[in-house]
Symmetry: C2
Subunit: 194 residues, 2 copies
């Protein structure tokens, strides 16, 4: 097991309905030493890519993205969730369905901060159905930029998002891929990684 898988086993909590609570270190309370390890691991996995900017989505992606960005020495842009119907023409927009909150969010990024010259690493904390990720990919496409890679902390390997994104040909690296969970025993099984 790698450092993140070990941490999930130690401090993650499996709940009924295939819910994995990692709020003690990842997405409510945030362990900065762990985040630094994740940032360095992303840097190692995407070392050969000409990344000049990291794109993430509010809120829980921002912390990981910022620490990773320090490892890459690049700026971060975070996509904002917007409920307003009137979006002016200065932003890229995509619609993202949230399974957690059962609603569709608009996700926006100002056109000032993404363009054809950008080589983007997309970072997020979770990958399940891949809706947020597809929204971010769409925004990079609208900007004419290049998605050089996608770095995820925890992928739920039993949900379809990861397979879809890999089929589309994107270099996707998830630091921990959960194959299955059992809330009765609290066990988590990870997909073996090279």
């Amino acid at each position: 097991m790698n450092f993140l898988e070990e941490r999930i086993v130690k401090d993650g909590v499996v709940k009924a309905g295939n819910i994995l609570k990692v709020d003690s270190f990842l997405n409510h309370q945030m362990d900065m030493r762990l985040f630094r390890q994740m940032g360095e691991e992303f840097k190692r996995r995407f070392a050969d890519k000409p990344i000049n900017k990291i794109l993430t989505i509010e809120a829980s992606g921002i912390g990981i993205a910022c620490v990773a960005a320090e490892c890459f020495d690049v700026p971060v842009v975070f996509a904002k969730k917007s409920q307003s119907v009137n979006i002016d023409g200065d932003v890229y927009v995509s619609e993202v369905e949230s399974f957690t909150h059962k609603r569709v969010n608009r996700v926006i990024v100002s056109k000032k901060f993404l363009g054809p010259e950008d080589h983007i690493l997309i970072i997020d904390d979770f990958l399940a159905n891949g809706c947020a990720l597809q929204g971010l990919i769409s925004i990079v496409d609208q900007a004419g930029g290049t998605v050089e890679g996608i770095g995820i902390a925890i992928e739920k390997g039993f949900q379809p998002g990861g397979a879809k994104i890999r089929e589309m040909g994107y270099p996707l690296e998830s630091l921990a891929i959960v194959e299955s969970m059992d809330d009765a025993t609290g066990t988590v099984v990870f997909r073996p990684q090279p």
Copy 2:
């Protein structure tokens, strides 16, 4: 002028209605070298405080809080905005009025991550009317914790939030305090700092 004031003069944009746009480096695109300078400056200003945790609020406070937290070698907890009416008993709640979005948000923090043993540095990107900050202070009070300090990137000194918080006796450090702005000339005047 310090490094943040210089950056505001260089890249900030003054708009009508006392709006200061700093989205190219602070709260949409985020310049991590600047964030590291801010984190180190907060560490210098609060060097004598026994801070063991940083508290911020989603979304744009998270990046600054995370980089500052690396300087302090402590974890971050971010308060979540919740529109749900049903809040279970496991969270601290406060109501925060948003002047930007003209609505009241509930702000919540899980009781697991704040308690009487915590010595908190509150971090946020902006201070204007102080509503978000008062919500965070209320949450630390509910937890029985201690607010050791408050670190803000940009304070609008012509709005009442900063004065109110200082009158309450909290050590408040804003890296740049804007005394006045003029959208016709684009000029920003800062309050002199020691």
